[in-house]
Amino acid sequence: MTSAASDEELVEGTLGGDEHAFTQLFDRYRNPVYSTVYRIIQNTEEAQDATQEIFIKLYRSLSVWKREKAKFSTWLYRLAANHAIDCWRARRRRAESQISGETGDGDFVESPLGEAIRSPYQEVAGREEVDEIRRCVDFLPELQKRVFVLRYFNELKLEEIADLEECSLGTVKTSLFRATQTIRKALRRYRGAR
């Protein structure tokens, strides 16, 4: 199979047990999947683990993908966002139980994803603002978080997101707006406090 094989051909190959087709799918999509996952989980190591798990899930559920319903990439990003949300949820639960066990009343409680938030972004202009954005995204409700990441970073169309989320276009628009509003407000507060 050539390197210019279409997604459909690679999927067919993978379903037929062709490991070269599968590794090509991995090479083609590892970065976009990782970046989707990272923006939800916000931890390098866990995002890589999750990316690996997503590709395992991918080939186990490839037969479910219906090409007439969604593009392969769109379907994969949705799979990635869902898995990332599951990981993020599990991580948050772990972090919360740790925090409730370790801190007393009135103690300052840092974000459960503190490690991710502290990690360096020196090369980015306005990195403090970016940190603020990351902090906000971490606390967005799940649907808003998925819509936000899929629209801003995977650049899916709103209609595609609505199809994947099985909700109305209006719900997607509202979720995107609310997520952006939350970030806008947080940035305003942040700039005001400086």
């Binding site: 990782y34 970046s35 390098t44 395992i56 980015v124 970016v130 801003y152 628009k173």
Partner: protein, 151 residues
Amino acid sequence: MRRPEDRHYSEEEVLLFVMGDAAAETGAEMSAHLEKCRECRSVWEEYSALVKSIGRWKIPSPSEESWQGRKATLLAQFREDRDWVKRKGVFWYLRWSVVKTWDYAMENPLPTMGYVAAALAFASERTITVFRLDWILPATGEVIKILRQVL
């Protein structure tokens, strides 16, 4: 149709415009409106800056070596799963085909009912001579009569 000067645009509409998600017609109207309306233009400028800030969120890329390690692990898992499928045997495939048929029936109830009706009609007429369906299930005879009329 709304004239551009009728009212200010909502922030949601402005955001969709900034993101390129507004309908072409609305986008043209809004461009015209923004030329004239300072208030909406300032909202547009704020959202444009915000979308740019969000776009600055870059992520740390894992090393190529790390990806290669992950790929090797994945490949090992892939081979294991693939070989396991080969070892599954006839009962697994039997179960799998029942599940797939059921899925098809749930997704396409009308054609399925047609197939079942045709199969019943065929079975009652020719195939099952010793154990005719209308002998086994009394009501089946009535069903078959109706099906004959319909078909």
